[in-house]
Subunit: 356 residues, 2 copies
């Protein structure tokens, strides 16, 4: 007799011998309900294994605890960690997340945004593929949007990012101070704002050191080719600074393949600190981004908007930390003091990035 279907509020009401309105009141903690009725309802809920239908609930109440998250690539550990933190925070505030990856493709990003809109989320957190994000946001989207990590061309969004320029500048200053005279800067694409900011930071900070930029694209075999050619070409630059995660992986592998030793043949530093960078010998000097903090701030920002706070869009920049390791310490003498894992650590505070 029991219809084998997921139980509805009506079935709960029937079983408890009350009206559906009462069930709804109990479930939503409305105060005007007697303890006796509440118990009967709760019993029925438990016996039936009833769980509210959020779709129907949202439809009627016009309020939803759902936020969309769009990242360029979920397999990038930075973004994965960002999403994971976000998800935890959302849960604490009783929100759900629908997460999508744009796979580094602006078309796909636009498509995903449209799709996410169909769920009528209460808000959106996006790490955009590129600066032209605003054009891809569907027209007539009224929920608040917080952007993270990358800066859009158009203003008007809440924004949370790191201080790419100064942090990259600190690495440049470090290399400069070590006496390196030529530095090859490698990055995926200057069309990505943080790569661009890092490159500008390097240029601003390099004093006696000559710097030169090489763009190798995202997943671009051609770019990888060009990088290899450059690395086989003499004279080598004294140092190499890679501006993003994908590029670092590619560059480091290429160097090993060619047989270049770090820092013997050239020094090496990376923007983005990955776990393996302190496992290789020598460890790799890197900029560590406060990715969890970025997620926290993004969530805080969005939550504020979702709960109705108006006001001008805000922009926040977070401080990065610099991890100096063996890969940029040329002489054996210098290196000796830094064989321990972790290496020297600069936590940049009030007087950041001052050359040593």
């Amino acid at each position: 007799m029991s219809k084998s279907r997921t139980p509805s509020i009506k079935m709960v009401a029937d079983r408890a011998g009350v009206s559906v309105a009462t069930v709804s009141n109990v479930l939503n903690g409305k105060p005007t309900v007697s303890p006796d009725f509440a118990r009967r309802v709760n019993d029925a809920v438990r016996e039936l294994g009833y769980v509210v239908d959020l779709g129907a609930s949202r439809l009627r109440s016009r309020k939803t605890q759902l936020v969309g998250v769009v990242v360029p690539d979920l397999t990038n550990p930075m973004f994965a960690s960002f999403v994971s933190t976000l998800e935890h925070l959302a849960r604490l505030d009783d929100y759900d997340l629908v997460v999508v990856s744009a796979r580094n493709d602006t078309e796909e990003e636009a498509d995903r945004l449209r799709k996410i809109r169909a769920w009528r989320p209460a808000g959106l957190i996006v790490i955009p593929c590129d600066g032209a994000f605003a054009e891809r946001l569907p027209t007539g989207f009224f929920a608040p949007v917080v952007l993270a990590d990358r800066i859009p061309d158009a203003a008007g969004f809440d924004l949370i990012a790191v201080d790419n320029g100064p942090a990259a500048g600190a690495i440049a200053a470090h290399l400069d101070g070590r006496g390196y005279r030529d530095c090859l800067i490698v990055g995926s694409s200057l069309s990505i704002s943080n790569v661009r900011e890092r490159w500008e930071g390097v240029q601003a900070a390099a004093r006696r050191m000559h710097v030169e930029m090489l763009e190798i694209g995202i997943d671009d075999a051609n770019g990888a080719q060009r990088l290899e050619e450059r690395l086989r070409c003499r004279p080598l630059p004294g140092a190499l600074f890679s501006l993003d995660h994908g590029t670092t992986l590619l560059t480091y592998r290429a160097m090993a393949e060619i047989g270049l030793s770090v820092p013997g043949d050239l020094a090496f530093a990376s923007f983005d600190d990955m776990e393996w960078m302190q496992l290789v010998a020598p460890g790799i000097t890197a900029v560590r981004q406060p990715i969890e903090e970025m997620a926290e701030q993004a969530w805080a920002l969005l939550l504020r908007r979702m709960t109705g706070s108006a006001g001008k869009p805000v922009t926040r920049r977070l401080r990065c930390a610099i991890e100096i390791r063996g890969s940029t310490l040329r002489s054996p003498l210098e290196e000796a003091g830094n064989t321990k894992l972790g290496g020297e650590k600069w936590k940049l505070q009030d007087e950041p990035y001052s050359p040593e």
Copy 2:
């Protein structure tokens, strides 16, 4: 005058001068609609930027293109990659994913499952925290469920996993064949099925080699402590084989901290091949799991069930590949042939895991 709200199908109907039913018919590609009306509707849709409300749509049509995905930890690159692949495949079939991470906590997993149920998904793909998953599945959940990677205690689920035992056995056989006589096996917890299977595989394959198991838990400082103590204790085992990703990271770091050299002081191998394992020198011998293929199979399995195929639950095992690298090649002579990245590679086919 225009109500600044997200447009509904009614507004589209009004603007196009037709009924809402007609709009719905056009949008869902029903054949019985004249080209003229279709054009008018499409125009109105475009002008208003209308996007269907999936919640309302599902509510009425009782069919949803939503599937839930639950993984133990999104920051684990294996799982991140699993999710990313899944998301891509789902998109191709026009499904949406709601992804949640259980953060290695069975309580949280149960909670997330209940929450996901409130969205009325058409199906579920789960990498369970532990074997007792079935108990945490909400009662009265009728959508098909596919489990991946880890084996539940209770039967009755479609299941896709890798051949943990034979693959781990292959590593053990390799070490045995190299002449190592003592091997310390380190893993997070035998309560996780694949760790258990790997340990059993090692025991079955070790012939002359003596093996010993050490469980260090998940995020357990105490376990890490015990591991360190063992590594400071003489005599060292000839080899160390770490059975999962987290443990490998912890172990490798501990060895470096203590100052043990690989493979000089002891050989080292890992279950789970991470990108950095071919970047360190020497490279680390590892079992590589076909994680994308696992996602593909999981999706195929679920899709079959969602489109109505009945029948007994199926279990599928995928083959792992073994990457032999410098970390298990003791003599300099042997090592010489393997300094290149990538090392020796066993793609295990018909005659898998036979000791060399």
